[in-house]
Symmetry: C2
Subunit: 407 residues, 2 copies
Amino acid sequence: MISNLKGTFSNISNNIKRSAIREILKLTQNPEIISFAGGLPAPESFPVDNLEEIVSTMLHEEGPASLQYDATEGVIELRELLLKRYQDEGVDCSLDNLIITTASQQGLDLVGKIFINSGDTVICGLPSYLGGIGAFTSYGAKMEGIPMDEEGMSAIALEEKLEELKKIGKKPKFIYIIPDFQNPTGITMPESRRLEIIALAHKYDVLIVEDSPYREIRFEGKSQRMMYELDNDNHVITLGTFSKIFAPGFRIGWVLAPAEINDKIVIAKQSADLCTPTFVQKIAARYMTSGHFEPNLQRTIEMYHKRRDAMLEQFDLLMPEGVSWTRPEGGLFLFITLPENVDAQELFYKAVENKVAFVTGNVFYCDGSGKNTLRINFSYVNEEKSVIGVQRLAAIIKEEILSASKA
Amino acid sequence: MISNLKGTFSNISNNIKRSAIREILKLTQNPEIISFAGGLPAPESFPVDNLEEIVSTMLHEEGPASLQYDATEGVIELRELLLKRYQDEGVDCSLDNLIITTASQQGLDLVGKIFINSGDTVICGLPSYLGGIGAFTSYGAKMEGIPMDEEGMSAIALEEKLEELKKIGKKPKFIYIIPDFQNPTGITMPESRRLEIIALAHKYDVLIVEDSPYREIRFEGKSQRMMYELDNDNHVITLGTFSKIFAPGFRIGWVLAPAEINDKIVIAKQSADLCTPTFVQKIAARYMTSGHFEPNLQRTIEMYHKRRDAMLEQFDLLMPEGVSWTRPEGGLFLFITLPENVDAQELFYKAVENKVAFVTGNVFYCDGSGKNTLRINFSYVNEEKSVIGVQRLAAIIKEEILSASKA
């Protein structure tokens, strides 16, 4: 080995942290553990039966073209279908605005890559999706966390932060927001808050990165217009994905952004992976027009709706005094806040001993706070198991609160 | 739009150049053009007929698991199969050394990401694969080109450069080498030269990145041992891919590297795309054990062998005095050198007018030289068309030499 390998790694490499979630997930592999930890879609939601025919038809009709390189921007028929979905919704966009990425994680990485120099400021919610924070900090971003209320990121706190930064001559590269069924809190931002934040983005001349992997998974309430649509001045970059509405194993996402920005992302993608696999893109396009996409999405939504309801019912029954949780209108996650003197990390080890798992909330706080919070996934585990899991979880939370009050 | 978008892009974004090849390829889309420009495998080489059954069986046997997230390191069965191929060849390696990437372009990007700080030196051949140079310079690498002879990168020139850099206190992050049927020259490095270069890597304490997408496509002569195998001191990182031996539209590659380095690449990959599509990885693993992989590879090799022979035959017949070219023992490319006073860029426009295309060689020279060179792909166009293409090409080269001698 070369003499000083450690010293040979780049600053970026030293900036990148091993995903805390992935490490947690390794501890929860034991099949006896009921895991609310991952962010996995339910395997029952995947359209396994439809795919055989779709792939077979594709191979017959397109043959080699489905196995060849394709454009860095993505397979044209898939881009057009996604565009049409947005246009049908009333979003003003064209092919120049939409490109395919190797799932939205690549979207986050490429956005980080084209905007962030080491030391640049990026604003996010407290808490926020770990994979977003990880991608941005890898390029040296300094994350500034903004507290959230029941409507998402606080516009008041955001303006204070923007003003504070302005006074010291700093302009954030962008504001990172997951407006629909946020990961990890499950909170959805109403239109009024979206508009307030967009107004601040205009006032302080800052971009918004709208990460939207869960938007289509709505159980109840009114669908909110995307920040991309509400903005009328090219301040918003939106990331979408098939991971929660089709199959994460296809790794297909997309970026909807002002043409000048997408052009930079395409150039960055050329050197990142040339193009997203043609084979899966063409299957996804055919799946979208197969007649199976919408009904399967509806079934998935119903399934998660039931799972959320079953979980909330148990929470209401079993959770001790002093514990609060969000009641998301959709998505995959809810968020628990324990009394301040209870440490979720200690709870985690006891939970795993008692065969139930979650992700500690603090990993989503860029300032290291949130030590008394937990993220709970309700999409993966079926209702029967979920009930048992919540019983186990509620029991150890009770114990932990009791022992914390004695300490 | 925000006020100074251009100034908002990162240094990396400003470092990344739009791929010159991709721009050239756009000019050659006209179906009447016989294109030797791309690096595309022959569509006839793709195992379209075998895939229907493989996918169908996979969906029946594995169902949802083929559509779910999988490990960042890659699908375990595929990693084990690739490892076994290397071990059967005598290479000392284990699972810690092999991870899957979203084709070898991602391998190049991640290697760049974990090693290169802005201003770091990376050494490459003159010429070298553009996508490698592009990935490294995106992270701010300063490329130092080393002249090549008929055995690849000159060890003498390499030592001179390493010594020169040492004197000014600089150590390159790595030496980038494509030892087998190099892109763009088609040159293969014999074992003696590989050993000389490895000895220099040891002496000067520098890593080697061995990019090996074509190694399996050998028409004649003796297969050379990989630099990874020849090295006995963890100085070599090797990048492999299915793009030329199965299907580029699957975007599956791999990195074979010392465990400590692969560990860093895995962490970087987590934030780049979480994992390579499970669906295509599992198909690839099944394809490798289907009994179709080796026979199809043999058919591909024979096809390209014939195409190379047909092309060389025409070259020998038609190319005017003063033009030389490589005679690769495998791979996809050969390289033409014109008289020094002939400009390949001007030739290119005339070629496209005359319905034949190539890539100008200068795009592969990190120092901007090579203006009288061309890269010719012989894998994509069949023999019949290739003969016509070479006739067109030879005719305009003749004209161009004549007009240059008059100028």
